[in-house]
Symmetry: C2
Subunit: 521 residues, 2 copies
């Protein structure tokens, strides 16, 4: 039936594709040497044909000028926002002693295979151009696990900020993209129960408080409790993960839809689903966890007890960390990824953000959990390195701040220039260049016009548009007297100072100006 | 002949691949609807077969644990070096008023096509998984041009620091990789001749002086002069670019080899090659440019005169910028990329770097030039935005510093923790957590052990290993009296302070410590 199918192609594109397919070598690996020789002969002929076709194709074509679907450029204003947010987050990570690492943007495909469950279909693959089979990273967690296993590291507290890639169909208006920044903090190592886990929650609260973008709650749950709950409700063990990914949809879909998916797609018995439905509406504090420890069904499950005891300990540590009022134990929290093994958590903004006259619902803004078995999957002796971590949803934060900027509720400065060297008359380019050199060499952030004879008004307008506080203004009569003018752009006051003392005079004025107010995001 | 070839595959991998190939849709686009229907039927059967095979394949496999060829992880020490270098470079970019932008890691393949000349074969393509045809960015210059054209921006001074991708076979020991950071500064806009160009050179010298990694020279040349030189030597106009890419190899290969390549591979006449050979050995300052303006052959070429006059103006501006002694006008400098149209330049370390008992030859460490036609290639009306820019070879700089670190000639701190909260006795985990909370909430960089009962020696060792200057030591007897001890890790002196004044006491001591010396890269 294979050959019947292949009788159809007549035109050159099909030949070309088939030719590429054979030429890249994957086809020939699986056949005998003699056969291979014959194929090589045919391939040569096809390649000759292909080279003609390629020449035809190489004629310049019109194409749509755009970034790839689901991606975007960051302009200077967006970058100013982004860099400010990331600096604040990094400051918190460093406050907790985290080191920084980076990994390649792509991994061997095998490294990613089997780590993401139902989401694996969203992985970007690279074209096989000969050599290794590669895919773009889907998150920063699996690369971390690969790094730990490969480098035989058993203890690490690290942050990693980088772009990850998912072939999703995201709602870009809500700050979701196919290429997006992840901003991760993880603690790897064999430590005592819930101690690093609680610190991850502390880190999230410090970041969200620092960024001050709205009220939030930090939902927590435990994968062992979910497993125990599924067990107690009568779900067979091999359906735990897939049932879990149905529960994960509860933040977007009503219970009825999730129930239907469990029964029709996941093969969960209706009675089991109904039992699950009674648990996943529960949320509260330590008193709920203690009540559930006595629950008739759950108290028979070792996993459920383990999960509940973990939650109780976690909540106690959160109280010591002064963040108890931010935490909500929530049985509907499931998290999509397969690799979690212990505590899981998610920070959610509790109120829509008001921007101008519109309200923007943001939802989940950070999430993470414990994954104790992931590193072992990369170790030939299956040696485990327990890990717990959190990922900050920076893209959604950027999205909120960009909307505030667009609504005029916020101002950003995209450059940090302190001094603009302007000339009031023609033919001062060389003098401007000399003065810029003095200022640059003294470490002062300085600009001038790249035109020989710019208009005075244009130069001053540039200063105002870019919030540059000072201008050095060159005029013929002053220069003859060995003087230059320093102009305060906001007050428009001008003062003459000796040319040779310019650097000191500028530095003195900059020290007086409250430049922080001007730079502020 | 197609079908003969396809009779060979017998085993399941080939079926699977062919099935994928048909399934991704590219095959079916080129045939009729009825044919398509029949194929779909067959595809269904094949997919059923495939699903069985995929299940077989899904059994966990052993694979080599590595990063993809030509890539590497950055560990915390490498990241500390990298972040320090990049911060210094960014400081210079900002001193010159640059704004920051970012673009996606991949572009529509059509955006990159036809921009890189002979190097285009090194572009990484993404697999066609349905949708757009994408490639990883090869540099940051073409994405900038696409961004300017797409956003209709005619003026921009921006920096962009990001990873780029080339399927090269790089010498990784010399700091060359398939994935590497580029660090670009570019000025776009219609300005006066050589004014922004000279500032790019100023920026390079400021960065190389600031990083202080060795003596360097900044070679400059002009593409119009090269064109004029080729013209004057008798190279036909359609061979200018390809001859240029031969000249570009002069930094690595002797003239004899380059000459042979020109004649045998590029089809340049031997006499023309010999004439070129007499020019490309020349280098010097403004006096050389002035001498060449009177050269019998060159003075007949409009392009050569334009190039030489440009070089003379550039050298004059460089003198005003105080960097004349760093610049060398060098006729052998060609630069590999197709898109340059005006001045080109390259910074080269002039001495091998001594590391331990070894000498490391570094070579080119920054490069760039003017490209006035690139933005127009993306504009439907071919509207030009002239650009000039420079790229700092940060990977080579990282490589030198990493070698210095390995040789013990440099020390880096990978975290910034100021205070470690330790306990001298058992059962102080909760007390430690409370004290950490106070310190964190006061903005103090603090760590403690994630173990319930860590050994005192282990805790103090951690402080020494990580250059943490202070430890807060909890002991039962002190706590009963409302006191805690603060220990200076270097001097080993301990002082008792009231528990309730801890934050103030810690802050006072941190202010006294010269933390800069400890953090220093």
């Amino acid at each position: 039936m294979l050959f019947r199918m292949l009788k159809f192609p007549k035109n050159h594109r099909a030949v070309l594709q088939l030719c590429n397919f054979v030429h890249n070598g994957s086809f020939t690996k699986s056949i005998s040497t003699t056969a291979c020789y014959k194929i090589q002969e045919e391939v040569k002929k096809l390649l000759a044909l292909k080279s003609q076709l390629v020449t035809e194709d190489a004629v310049p074509q019109k194409f749509t000028l755009k970034t790839p679907k689901g991606t975007r450029d960051y302009n200077p204003q967006q970058m100013a926002i982004r860099n400010d947010v990331l600096q604040k987050i990094i400051a918190v990570f460093k406050k907790h002693g985290a080191e920084c690492i980076d990994t390649p943007v792509f991994e061997l495909k095998d490294v990613l295979t089997g780590k993401y469950g139902e989401d694996s279909k969203l992985i970007y693959d690279l074209k096989d151009q000969g050599g290794e089979i590669l895919s773009l990273r889907y998150d920063l967690t699996v690369p971390l696990a690969r790094y730990l296993a490969m480098s035989k590291i058993t203890m690490l507290k690290r942050y990693h900020i980088a772009k990850v890639y998912r072939r999703d169909n995201p709602a870009m208006t809500r700050g979701r993209y196919r290429e997006f920044y992840q901003c991760d903090f993880d603690i790897a190592g064999q430590y005592d129960l819930m101690v690093p886990d609680a610190e991850c929650l502390k880190v999230v609260t410090e970041i969200l408080n620092f960024l001050d973008i709205g009220k939030y709650v930090l939902k927590v749950n435990h994968r062992r409790l979910l497993d125990g709950m599924f067990e107690a409700c009568g779900v067979p063990a091999d359906k735990f993960r897939t049932t879990c990914s149905s529960v994960d949809k509860l933040d977007k879909s009503p219970w009825e839809e999730v129930r239907t998916e469990m029964i029709n797609e996941k093969g969960v018995m209706p009675e089991a689903a109904d039992r699950i439905g009674k648990y996943v509406i529960m949320n509260g504090g330590v008193e709920l966890a203690e009540k559930l420890l006595k629950d008739e069904k759950l108290s028979n499950s070792k996993a459920a007890i383990e999960g509940l005891e973990g939650i109780i300990l976690l909540l106690k540590y959160c109280e010591l960390f002064g963040i108890k009022d931010k935490i909500l134990f929530d049985l509907s929290l499931a998290r999509g990824l397969d690799y979690y093994t212990g505590v899981i958590y998610e920070a959610v903004l509790t109120e829509p953000i008001k921007i101008g006259n519109e309200e923007q619902t943001v939802g989940s803004i950070a999430g993470g959990g414990r994954y104790d078995n992931l590193v072992g999957m990369f170790d030939s002796k299956n040696k485990q390195v327990p890990c717990v971590g959190v990922s900050i949803g920076v893209e959604r934060i950027f999205s909120v701040l960009e909307a505030k900027l667009a609504a005029g509720e916020m101002r950003v400065r995209t450059n940090e220039v302190d001094v603009y060297v302007a000339s009031a008359q023609k033919n001062f380019l060389e003098e401007r260049m000399k003065i810029c050199t003095e200022l640059w060499d003294a470490g002062i952030k300085t600009e001038h016009s790249y035109k020989k004879n710019p208009k005075m008004l244009t130069q001053l307008q540039h200063c105002e548009d870019n919030c540059i506080p000072l201008a050095v203004v060159l005029g013929e009569s002053e220069l003859k007297r060995g003087m230059v003018k320093i102009r305060n752009i906001v007050s428009r006051q001008e003062e003459e100072v000796p040319r040779e003392k310019l650097v000191d005079e500028v530095n003195a004025r900059l020290a007086l100006l409250n430049t922080k107010g001007i730079n502020g995001v």
